[in-house]
Amino acid sequence: MFKKLIALMLASLFVLLAFAACAEDAADTGAYGTSGTKELAKSGVVSTTAADVAEGTKKELKIGVVLIGDNTETYSKAHIDGIRTACTNLGIDPDDSSKVIWKMTVGEDAGCTAAIDDLVAQNCNLIITNSYGHQTYTQAAAEKYKDKDIQFIAMTGDTALSSGLTNLSNAFTEVYQARYVSGVVAGLKLKELVDAGKIADKNKDANGNIKIGYVGAYPFAEVVSGYTAFYLGVKSVVDNVVMSVSYTSSWHDSDKEAEAAKSFISDGCVIISQHADSEGAPMAVQNAYNEGTVVYSVSYNVDLTSLGDAILTSATNNWAVYYEYAIKTAMNGGKIATNWIGGYAQDAVKITALGKEAAAGTEAKVNEVIADIKSGKLHVFDTSKFTVGGKTVTWAYATDTDGDFNYDANNVITDGYYHESYTQSAPSFTLRIDGITELNTGN
């Protein structure tokens, strides 16, 4: 009996292995090109703000919020603050549990389904999930409850359009713009250090380029887009700069982020930025700074200048802009845009207060750059400012139509720049440009 069972199991194992082997097709190339052009895809995003929402038949709204973290975690804190501000502006008491129900520290697993089911059971008719990994569960819930009058929002997600569901929306900010501006702040500091002769040989690589580092969470488009924008911001001030990226494989892991930052510091990196949600890296930078190392931090999400003088600024989102739009739309019985995006023009992104050590004249330069971004004079992903494999990129796809995680449709390069967050709200930029080295794969 047992022998038969074991034989059966082994047989099924072999079958599975065979399937697994077949599944590993060679990754298709052809996601971008360095010669020729392609027609620009159709834009799929809107940037309406609450001011433009038409008054309609008022609807009794009950909001359910599913958060990956809580007030102690900077990413979720930014969302909580945004929703609270939006609610207050619209006359909703965010602490009234008959109006807003908060579900904190909900994992990116079946717990998300349970949380959403519970919110539906409590008659919420606007349900927001704030993490990318919540998206598949939010989408499944939107499918399950499509006959009910409930709108779902998967923040930072990217499947609302392709799912074809009318009750599911995605939203993101053009935070890459704020990252670029924070890069300019870092670049100005770097220039000041160069002029003051404070850049030593160990701060440069073999070709004389100044080294900077970036602590990333995962190798997703969201992170790649962010660090590339930051790097281009630095490079717009100091041209001879190279950046290393280290992935931690977690959105929030204080120890790993600190460890990555320490490794950058010992390698001689002068500026360390991050796309990760703890204070691990900025703390490590501040500690090294206190011991006399020339190193500065540009952080993310929240103002960390209280940590000390090594903190220059943080790139951050002003989620209240979107939430006010979405909540007001739902209150007026309207349909929330499938893909929403907002940047400096909508006041949806910004950098936090400058630290004491920021270079003289930073404020004026920052305002100038922001004005140029708003007016469209400056494009963050200007294709004349970066190369891939030594060549200028002339076209790039931004949509994955067959679900293999490689882009295969919708060119977004035209007029000399990469249109980020153009076909959908989530960032799409995944080109690995020259000058940036990923130290690990994030697997």
Partner: protein
């Protein structure tokens, strides 16, 4: 007399020979009421609500509408299925605390089919494959400690416990290796989802739980194999004398126990979660140990205790969602803990009685 009383302790415990069924029911009822009171007092201290508001919130959170009622029964059924899986092993004095690992092992086996062939096979083919391999997966997870116990006399309590952690790490590994974007999310496939019964997506879970309870009752009480289990559990020497093969009974029962837990894993993957994660089942593998033990493997009691725990769970989460600025979801676990504490405590009073100094029956 006085000197005599001094030597006697203030109170002592005397083992009961037996307790009348009516008395046993009263002791249990008192324990449940006391647990409810302590839960209520606990909530009063952490929220601004009155005790009436607390209890009405617990009831309305559980029975508000069809969604909450369905969740209540589904959670009770899942707990019950795992508990009936553990029962035969316990009856055999094989302390299987690896229910969680066996659920995960079954879930992994089921999810493997779903992940690789969910788009290629129709439901009629893939669901039986998922079901059978989940049962085999859970069974293997339980039979490994059983083999070591029979061959090398290892401690199965520790061994099954450690198997839980191996399963958890394997699930973490699979989530990363299966998913190109690290967070597996739902495994969205064309087939591999349990069909709805009477328009209820969880309908088949109820059927499986009900059939499982009946079958397990018959197996344990009316069959030769069930009899062998109790003989091996209660009197191994008698079993040997009677020619019952201890090896065969232990391996068979451990496999059965793990297989039923594995089926619970199948239900999580095909009907509830549609993915795997190390948090799958929310720790029911451990809670079910207490359910099975408390109920003395009596299926009716197991059903009632499962429903009670499910009620405390949904009631607590309702209070949490009314006070989200001050409370979080771990409150439900605290309350289940309070309940289990009282339930286990009342078992003590069913087996022992407290005798105070100077009382007449102390002299008996």
């Amino acid at each position: 007399m006085k000197a005599d009383a001094k030597r006697e302790p203030a109170l002592r415990l005397v083992k009961r020979d037996s307790i009348s069924p009516a008395r046993a029911v009263i002791v249990r009822a008192v324990a449940i009421i006391a647990a409810l009171l302590v839960c209520g007092i606990f909530f009063i201290t952490v929220t601004d609500s009155s005790i009436i508001e607390i209890y009405s919130a617990m009831v309305s959170g559980t029975f508000r509408n069809s969604i909450t009622i369905n969740t209540f029964f589904r959670e009770a059924c899942m707990l019950l299925i795992i508990a009936i899986g553990l029962a035969p092993a316990f009856k055999m004095s094989f302390w299987n605390v690896g229910g969680q690992g066996q659920v995960l092992a079954g879930g992994m086996a089921a999810a493997m089919w779903l992940f690789y062939l969910g788009n290629k096979l129709p439901n009629a083919a893939i669901l039986p494959l998922m079901f059978v391999s989940a049962a085999i997966g859970g069974g293997i997870w339980a039979i490994i400690p059983a083999v070591f116990r029979v061959k090398f006399s290892t401690n199965e309590t520790l061994f099954t416990l450690m198997m839980n952690y191996i399963a958890i790490q394997l699930v973490k590994y699979l989530r990363i290796s299966w998913s190109p974007i690290h967070a597996l999310g739902m495994i969205q496939r064309k087939s591999g989802s349990l069909p709805a019964l009477f328009g209820n997506a969880d309908g088949l879970i109820y059927v499986i739980a009900a059939v499982g309870v009946v079958l397990m009752y018959i197996y344990m009480n009316k069959t030769k194999q069930g009899y062998e289990i109790s003989v091996v559990g209660e009197a191994p020497n008698t079993a040997r004398y009677a020619g019952i093969s201890e090896l065969k009974v232990i391996l068979r029962t451990a496999f059965l126990s793990g297989a039923v837990c594995g089926i619970a894993g199948f239900l999580y993957v095909s009907a509830i979660d549609h993915t795997i994660s190390e948090t799958m089942g929310g720790g029911y593998g451990f809670t079910a140990v207490i359910v099975a033990w408390l109920a003395k493997f009596n299926p009716i009691f197991m059903t009632l205790i499962s429903m009670l725990i499910s009620f405390v769970r949904s009631g607590s989460s309702e209070i949490v969602s009314r006070n989200t600025t001050t409370l979080d979801s771990s409150i439900a676990n605290i309350n289940i803990g309070i309940f289990l504490f009282f339930m286990l405590g009342c078992e003590f009073f069913l087996n022992y009685k407290v005798v105070f100094r100077g009382r007449k029956d102390a002299k008996k």
